[in-house]
Symmetry: none
Subunit: 266 residues, 2 copies
């Protein structure tokens, strides 16, 4: 989905840190960075990445989320990576034998938003590609966040899990005015123009014998008006539809010597 507008400024608002624990593949660091960038997160921390840092594959996979990649911080241990944070959630798809509250993404995002609004730091832990997080890592978190996945197909890759949490954060943070563009529709025309369309259409249909019997006419007119009334037509669209009627009607072609030209014909 192309659509990035490079004329827009990047913003680095206060937002959750994303902490990846011992990722094996640079690609996954890069795709996680890209997912964060989509929803305005930027604080990416990596604990003991298998292939070291910097990592070319991470840069390539980040698809120009350079502002995230450039700020990546690497830590030797998880304890160091979360030292400055006061709210930490561990994401996992598996039930854990640890005494932790389990939250869904919505509640997790809500709690991070409140926490960050109070001026404190919050972060989300994501585990290794194959094994996820160890219980000793989960035990460092305030709570577990898990996703409403199908139990029979629960496995999310790292970038997808990061994407969903970033989306939830952004969705709730910005409630309302968040879409990059809105209102594809031109303003609806004043009702007088819509009535003009109705009059034009109905006059034409009367003349062409569309209404088979007089008693059916009111219902058929209502039904036709309902279609156009609910379409929210703009002035331009009303002009186009009237052009359509005139074009199909072709009154001017229909004039024959044995008939007087109809009123108003041009």
């Amino acid at each position: 989905m192309a659509g990035t507008d490079r004329s827009q400024d990047l913003t680095f608002r206060a937002s959750p840190a994303i902490i990846l624990c011992e990722p094996q593949l640079g690609e996954n660091i890069g795709t996680a960075a890209r997912a964060m960038a989509n929803f305005g997160l930027w604080d990416l921390r990596v604990v003991n990445p298998r292939d070291g840092w910097p990592n070319e594959r991470a840069v390539a996979a980040a698809s120009r989320a350079d502002h995230v990649i450039d700020k990546v911080r690497v830590f030797a241990t998880l304890e160091e990576a979360i030292a400055d944070l006061s709210l930490v959630f561990a994401t996992t798809a598996r039930r854990r034998d640890v005494q932790k509250p389990v939250l869904g993404p919505e509640e997790g995002a809500q709690r991070m938003i409140s926490h960050i609004a109070g001026g404190a730091g919050a972060g989300l832990l994501f585990g290794r590609e194959r094994w996820g997080l160890y219980n000793e890592e989960v035990s460092l978190a305030d709570a577990i966040v898990t996703f409403p996945v199908e139990a029979a197909f629960a496995s999310l890759n790292i970038a997808q899990a990061v994407l969903l949490m970033s989306y939830e954060w952004r969705r709730q943070f910005d409630t309302g005015e968040v879409l990059p563009f809105t209102g594809g529709l031109d303003a609806a025309a004043p009702r007088s123009e819509l009535m003009g369309l109705f009059g034009h259409l109905e006059e034409t249909l009367d003349r062409t014998g569309f209404f088979k019997t007089a008693d059916k006419r009111p219902t058929m007119v209502e039904n036709l008006r309902a279609v156009f009334a609910r379409a929210g037509l703009s002035s331009q669209e009303i002009r186009t539809l009237r052009g359509v009627i005139s074009s199909i009607d072709r009154m001017h072609e229909r004039q024959r010597p044995d008939r007087a030209p109809p009123d108003g014909d041009s």
Copy 2:
């Protein structure tokens, strides 16, 4: 994130169709299938995939979402792929110059849930890797769905866009906020009937010289289709509108000795 419980049964509940338009890479079909499987979607339709079908790379990338891959249906055209659906949203990250309502993922998912709860079919269109959807494809949709991304970093890959919509659908489906009744509107007609109306109207306009120049035709067709696509026409309304066109057209009155009767005239 490991965690799939293979002892659980897969469910094939009524859910939106995902329609990928001309994907170039099999990997993206596979990762889209996996994202669907995470949140319980399974109806994957592919329009004219560049590398054909079946595709080994798609299978590998699906990470055992075989129940989705096995059901994939391939279509030559988008029109065929959506023929049985009566609510279609086009996902895009870019503002389009088409007259369509623009929805966020939440409202898009809500509307699909209500629609499907009423027993009808709904689907989501996703575009090509590099160019997204063409405007003529967007014009077939009832509305546009876009994501609350950063304008400066708006590009989502196909699997991520599919993941977010699948997540939103599941998130809201599970909260059970389905209204006890929905609008007074008759069910929208399947897309095949809407395409029939478009064909009838455009054939008539071609014949009556509505499109002044060939280069303006595509835009004018898109604009006209947008009006009728967003009106949510029922089968009965489509029949009425086709009756309107035929009545105004009055081909049978137009036959003159110096002209052969047009095909299909009655």
